[in-house]
C-alpha cells in the first residue's frame, strides 16, 4: 500500500506554469510586501462578503498579486468559486 501511495500521492500544484510567470509572481509578492497572514485574513473577509451577498463559496479562494509595469502598481487578482444560494437555503439560514 505504501508503495502504491508513492505513485498516487497528490502532487502540490506549481505556483506558475513557466519561469517567467513564476518570476512575475515572486516579484509581485516582494514588491507589494504582502505577508501570508494578511493575505489569509483578506481571504476570510472575502468569504464573509460573498456570504453577505448571498453567495456560497464552494472551492479554494485564491488571491494572486500581479505587478503591472506600466504604472508600477500591484493588481490583486482574486479567484472565488461561488454558487448563488437558493432562496430556500436563505430562509433556512435566516430562521
Amino acid at each position: 500500500m505504501v508503495f502504491l501511495n508513492m505513485f498516487n500521492k497528490d502532487k502540490e500544484r506549481p505556483t506558475a506554469a513557466t519561469a517567467d510567470d513564476r518570476l512575475s509572481l515572486v516579484l509581485s509578492y516582494q514588491r507589494s510586501d504582502i505577508d501570508e497572514r494578511k493575505l489569509k485574513k483578506f481571504q476570510g473577509r472575502l468569504i464573509e462578503l460573498c456570504d453577505e451577498f448571498g453567495y456560497d463559496v464552494v472551492g479554494q479562494v485564491e488571491i494572486r498579486p500581479q505587478s503591472r509595469q506600466r504604472d508600477n502598481t500591484t493588481v490583486l487578482n482574486a479567484s472565488i468559486p461561488v454558487r448563488l444560494r437558493d432562496s430556500e437555503d436563505e430562509k433556512r439560514a435566516g430562521s
Binding site: 519561469a19 518570476l23 512575475s24 515572486v26 516579484l27 516582494q30 514588491r31 509595469q69
Partner: protein, 266 residues
C-alpha cells in the same frame, strides 16, 4: 589637471553571480582603453579581487589599514603588473566588515578620485553593512544578475535599496547567459530579465568556461582573444567609456556548436 572621476559600485544581492569577475574584467578593459582605474575590494574578510588580477603576492597593506591610519593610501595601492594605470585597493582578509563605516569608505573614495578616472567598487554579497559601505560613495551602480529567479529576485530588492539611497543611475549586466538553454525555454531570456527589473541594459555576458581558468590563473578573460565573455566585458568597458557598441550575437549558429550541444560537450 583635475579630471572627472566616477565611482561605480558593482553589486548583486546574491553571491556567486560574477561581481568580482566583472570588476576585474571591466577594470582591466578600461585600463587597456587608457583610462586610470582603481578597483576596490570592499568584501572585508573574503577578498577575491587580488586573485582575479593575479596580485595576491603583492599585498602589503589594505583598505582597513588606510582607514585606521596604519598606512598611507599610496602604500596600500597595488599596481597591475602590465598596466600601470590600473591599481587595486585590497580588502583586509582577517578583519570584519563592521570595523568600517560608510562615511569612512566615502572619504577614502574621495581621496582616490584625485588620482583615478574610474573607481570600481566590488560589493560583498548581501544587503547588510558591507553592502552599505560599498554603495555609500557610488555615483552609479552596476547590477550583475544571472538569468535565474533567485538572482533576479535579489536584484529587484537591491534596486529598491539603491533607489532609497538616492542612487538612481543603475545599469544591468546579465551574466552567465546560455543561449541554448534560453532557446529551449529552460533559462530566462535577457529581454525578460530586463523587462522585470526595468533598468538600462549595459551588457550581456555568455557562460564561458574560460572564466574559471582565468580566475585560477589570475588573468582576466579580457586578455583572452578567444573568450566570448572577454569580448562581452570589453564591450561593457567601452560603453562605460562612452562608446556605442552593439550587443554580442550569442545565438549558436554554427553546425559544430549544435553537434556539441547534442552530445553535451559544449
Amino acid at each position: 589637471m583635475k579630471h572627472k572621476s566616477t565611482a561605480i559600485t558593482v553589486t548583486s544581492g546574491k553571491g556567486g553571480v560574477g561581481k568580482s569577475t566583472t570588476v576585474a574584467s571591466v577594470g582591466l578593459a578600461l585600463a587597456q582603453l587608457g583610462r586610470s582605474v582603481c578597483v576596490m575590494d570592499t568584501d572585508i574578510g573574503l577578498r577575491k579581487l587580488d586573485l582575479m588580477l593575479g596580485l595576491e603576492n603583492r599585498i602589503v597593506y589594505d583598505l582597513v589599514d588606510v582607514i585606521e591610519g596604519t598606512s598611507k593610501l599610496r602604500q596600500s595601492l597595488v599596481r597591475h603588473k602590465e598596466f600601470d594605470n590600473l591599481a587595486l585597493l585590497p580588502a583586509a582578509q582577517t578583519r570584519y566588515k563592521e570595523e568600517v563605516t560608510p562615511a569612512q569608505v566615502k572619504q577614502l573614495v574621495d581621496e582616490l578620485r584625485e588620482e583615478f578616472e574610474f573607481i570600481l567598487i566590488d560589493s560583498p554579497a548581501g544587503i547588510e553593512g558591507g553592502f552599505r559601505n560599498a554603495i555609500a560613495p557610488a555615483d552609479r551602480a552596476i547590477l550583475v544578475v544571472n538569468p535565474e529567479i533567485p538572482s533576479v529576485r535579489d536584484s529587484d530588492r537591491v534596486i529598491g535599496l539603491l533607489e532609497s539611497a538616492n542612487l538612481d543611475h543603475i545599469d544591468l549586466v546579465v551574466n552567465r547567459v546560455q543561449p541554448g538553454m534560453v532557446k529551449d525555454g529552460d533559462m530566462l531570456s535577457v529581454e525578460r530579465v530586463q523587462n522585470h527589473l526595468a533598468i538600462n541594459l549595459l551588457g550581456i555576458v555568455p557562460e564561458d568556461r574560460r572564466i574559471i581558468r582565468s580566475s585560477n590563473t589570475g588573468e582576466p578573460v579580457v586578455l583572452d582573444d578567444k573568450s566570448m565573455a572577454g569580448r562581452a566585458f570589453n564591450n561593457i568597458a567601452r560603453r562605460i567609456n562612452g562608446e556605442e557598441v552593439p550587443y554580442l550575437e550569442l545565438e549558436e549558429t554554427s553546425l559544430i556548436n549544435r553537434i556539441k550541444r547534442i552530445f553535451h560537450i559544449a
